[in-house]
């Protein structure tokens, strides 16, 4: 069939093709700086715009606190906590690895407990306090667990790392034993395909003291 042209309606506002200028702005690229790897990424990350409510019929209100900040969102009930954090709040430190509770990359803390945010509908978290990696510490002021991960090279690609750290920090509130095998079992819900397991173990042991 013929290509469907974009239908513009109140429910479907026109998508203006980005002008060269606006894309460059969005990308954070100035004409004089040809290469700005990290600056570019930061600019991109901050250029967030939530999809309009009109695009989401059936959307419902959600109030939750993320890293201490209250948020009120109108959200499609199908949205998982993971996608709400990443796609709506642009808190992209939490990662999607499998979307089915099989890898642990999406681990966040809900009211202090570690959970797989991919298997939790966002609307289930009305009134909850969510903690993500962004709330733990910054490069300038790392949480002791984050610092231990850096010191022990407890990652390679870094993609599962947020989940590993959120899981490791939450362990402090869980009555697991302190032996290596106890920690390894307790951390087994966080897959590191790069296999930095012994480094992660060392980091956790150091941070737990």
């Amino acid at each position: 069939m013929a290509k469907q042209k974009l239908q513009f309606s109140p429910d479907n506002p026109p998508l203006l093709p980005l002008s060269r200028r606006s894309v460059l702005q969005a990308l954070g690229i100035s004409s004089t700086a040809a290469v700005l790897g990290s600056g570019l990424a930061q600019a991109a990350g901050s250029a967030a715009a939530a999809p309009g409510d009109a695009a989401e019929p059936g959307a419902q209100i959600l109030n939750m606190t993320v890293n201490g900040e209250p948020h009120s969102l109108k959200i499609d009930p199908r949205t998982t906590l993971l996608d709400a954090l990443r796609e709506r709040l642009q808190l992209t430190g939490t990662k999607k690895g499998c979307d089915h509770g099989q890898c642990g990359a999406c681990t966040v803390q809900v009211n202090g407990r570690r959970v797989n945010s991919c298997l939790s509908l966002a609307l289930m978290h009305e009134g909850d306090a969510i903690s993500t990696i962004e709330g733990l510490g910054t490069p300038e002021q790392l949480h002791p667990m984050q610092a231990a991960f850096v010191e022990h090279d407890a990652y390679q690609c870094g993609y599962c790392t947020s989940g590993q750290i959120m899981s490791a920090v939450a362990l402090a509130n869980e009555p697991y034993g302190t032996s290596d095998s106890d920690i390894k079992e307790a951390m087994s819900g966080n897959i590191c395909r790069c296999g930095a397991y012994s480094h992660i173990l060392k980091a956790i042991k150091q941070a737990r003291g």
Binding site: G101, L121, K184
Partner: protein
């Protein structure tokens, strides 16, 4: 996911009232339902969030047992002092399941209703009588290495994947259910249904009914219990075979015994034959072996899972020996 409306129930009465409408699902931990909704296997038009219901307590019963609220999270139940002390088999089974994160989410009621991990059920495409009655069973003659050797039918060989359920069966737990027309209590041994020709019906739960509690009888005097799970990797995987064992030994003889197997049955599989072989017999390696033999009698192998018969046997024998040796 199909679109659905989302409502938070503030009371059990409200939940079961809402639950009586067609195509409603209760959501608690979400670890099974969200997963299956993403796969398209579940597609409710209404989701009722029951997380606000007052069902998250573990209480002692007057008889000395425990009444576990349906919303008690698996990790909380596993670490609960009364469970660790009185029902180690339950604590161990819960901790053998899933991962730390999932155990923090998953609930007692939800775990009872965990769906099978059969790959054909989950692919939302293959013939599957459980998902789409009458379409056939792709697992028979297909990839069935992880599937059941007990309780199968020509319509379905899907395994009940839960660890908790196996312990509950061994402990003789009771499931408290509330519906729009009142409450009832079902022994866990009668809660699950064999697939037969209706594998889509997995439990006695009627549409709209809500599990409110699970009651555990008082621990057997002087009994010891434990759970052993065998699987390909060391953690974060469903059982190929598991055994929940409760033994009461007195004067070198087994007085009472409960044996249930996991990972091998279409439902959590209690073995009266194994229990019979144990009761009255000396607490010895020969008895454990005989009970293990009895436990797997009648098992039916599929094309890829015949090894589970031997594996289940070893699992039972080893766990009987382990539990008997506990002080």
């Amino acid at each position: 996911m199909h679109p659905f409306t989302f409502n938070r129930a503030s009371s059990t009465d409200q939940a079961v009232k809402w639950g009586a409408a067609p195509n409603v699902r209760f959501i608690a931990g979400g670890t099974t339902l969200t997963d299956l909704m993403k796969l398209g296997v579940e597609h409710p038009t209404q989701v009722v969030d029951i997380n606000r219901l007052p069902l998250a307590e573990v209480e002692r019963t007057p008889e000395g047992g425990l009444k576990v609220g349906a919303l008690v999270r698996n990790s909380d139940l596993a670490w609960h002092l009364a469970v660790k002390q009185g029902y180690p088999v339950l604590s161990e089974a819960l901790l053998a399941g899933a991962s730390g994160q999932l155990r923090n989410m998953a609930t007692t009621g939800g775990n009872l209703l965990q769906r099978t991990r059969c790959m054909y059920f989950r692919d939302n495409l293959s013939p599957c009588n459980k998902r789409e009655p009458g379409t056939g069973c792709a697992a028979i003659g297909g990839a069935n290495r992880t599937l059941a050797i007990f309780g199968t039918s020509e319509h379905c060989i899907a395994t009940n994947p839960s660890d908790m359920n196996v312990a509950l069966v061994a402990l003789g737990a009771q499931v408290h259910i509330q519906g729009n027309h009142g409450s009832r209590v079902v022994p866990v041994g009668e809660f699950f249904l064999l697939p037969g020709s209706t594998p889509q019906v997995e439990t006695v739960l009627q549409p709209g009914e809500l599990i409110t509690h699970v009651a555990l009888p008082p621990p057997l005097e002087g009994a010891k219990s434990g759970y052993l799970k065998l699987r390909d990797r060391a953690s974060y995987e469903f059982a190929l075979a598991s055994a929940a064992v409760v033994l009461q030994i007195d004067g070198g003889r087994v007085r009472q015994a409960r044996v249930a197997l996991g990972g091998v049955g279409t439902l959590p599989w209690r073995s009266p034959a194994a229990e019979q072989a144990l009761v009255g017999a000396p607490a010895s390696a020969a008895t454990w072996r005989a009970a293990a033999e009895a436990a797997v009698r009648g098992a039916k192998a599929q094309s890829e899972n015949g090894f589970k018969i031997e594996l289940a046997k070893r699992c039972v024998a080893q766990q009987l020996a382990t539990v008997a040796a506990r002080v």
